[in-house]
Each structure stands twice: as C-alpha cells, then as structure tokens.
Amino acid sequence: MGIKVLFFGSVTDITQVGELSWDYCADTNILMKGLLGRFPALANKKYFLALNQQIIHENCQLKQGDTVAIMPPYSGG
C-alpha cells in the first residue's frame, strides 16, 4: 500500500500533481527527506503536514496506508 501523499495550494505549483503514492517509509522525517529530494523547491516553501487529516508538529511514525498531506498556509474564506 505504501504512503499516500497529497499536495495542496501553491505546493502543487512545485509538484505539478495533487497526489502520489510513495513507497512505505518509517516516519514523516524520512518521507519529507525523500520528497525534498524529488521536489527540491519545496525547501523554500512554508508548509504544514497532516497525517491522516491531523496536523502534526513533529516527526511521526508511519504505517502502511497512511495519508500525509503537504499544505501551505490556508487561504479560504
């Protein structure tokens, strides 16, 4: 199953896709390292992470099938 990665807002200007499947990795730090390798411009972005729709502020363990979202600051309303 791996990890489902979602991109939103201005982050999609970098990734060009809204969603991708990523090989399973143990935690979100490892995941972000991989994503930064693939999308180096992400390093200059301000973004938050959500793991299964919950905002996370530190490194979190991942399990198969988890969803991680990379989200720039919100601008609804």
């Binding site: 729709q53 979202a69 919100y74 601008s75 309303g77």
Partner: protein, 147 residues
C-alpha cells in the same frame, strides 16, 4: 468524531443569493429563534501587480475540512447557545462580486448568534485547509494569502 453527523460545507461555484433567502425562510418555523447572524464573503476586484482579479478558484482538503468542522461545530455548540449553524464555502471558480462563503448562526438571544458567527469566520480562515487562487485579467494567478 465518528459518531457525529458530517456536515458538508462545500458548494460548487458561487453561492446564490437565492439560497441565502431560502435558508432564512426555512427558519421561520423555528419559533424559539430570536436572532440570526449572517456573514458573506464576496470576491473582491483587488489589483495584483497592476492586473485586476476576476475570480478566485478554491480548492480544499475536503476530507480534513469535514473532520475538522465536525469538531469545531461541537465546540461552538458547547460555547454558544445556538439553535442552529450552517456554513457553506465555495469550491471551484467564483467570479468577482459573487459569494464564496456563507456563515449562518441562529439563537434565542442576539449575542450568541452574533459572537458565534464572528468567531466562526475567523476559525474558517485560520483552521480549515482551503486555498484560494486569484485569477487576473491576463490569466496570471496568485495564491491568496489570509491575514
């Protein structure tokens, strides 16, 4: 959260004024209501780098919005003596002059509806994973930033 009814807040495209009238009319039957407070967000013809904004295109992390809103709703009903609360946010393209956000709170006494509505607008802007992309006359786009 799982036991809570999920309230869909998304509305495809602009929110018509007629929907607002219809929603108000529906509340005439709730005779314990004494006050309604409504906030409407309207897309503004801002100027960005000399180009006029003609529309905003909204996208959202819909599943996360719904889960968050279920929690937020619960908090608001605990904090304020509300009879009801309805929230609609547009997805997709909303042209200048059209309505993209509709917050509607009702209560027996005015302060609950007014204060809840005001706080909800701030909460939506701050807490909900929704993004607006401003589209200009020359088709250039700028991701909206909330303040």
């Amino acid at each position: 959260m799982s036991s809570k009814k999920q309230h869909r807040i998304f509305f495809q495209g602009p929110i018509p004024a007629q929907k607002i009238a219809d929603d108000i009319q529906k509340h005439a039957a709730k005779t314990n209501i004494g006050a309604h407070s409504i906030f409407l967000g309207q897309v503004r013809a801002d100027e960005l780098n000399g180009e006029k904004v003609v529309a905003i295109e909204y996208t959202a992390y819909e599943l996360m919005v719904e889960e968050k809103m279920a929690v937020i709703r619960e908090q608001f009903f605990e904090k304020y003596a509300l009879t009801c609360m309805h929230i609609y946010h547009s997805l997709g393209r909303v042209a200048v002059g059209e309505i993209c956000l509709f917050v509607f709170t009702s209560s027996a006494h005015r302060r609950d509806a007014i204060d809840a509505c005001s706080e909800m607008v701030e909460t939506i802007k701050k807490e909900l994973p929704i993004w607006g992309k401003e589209i200009c006359t020359n088709q250039s786009t700028v991701w909206k930033q909330n303040n």
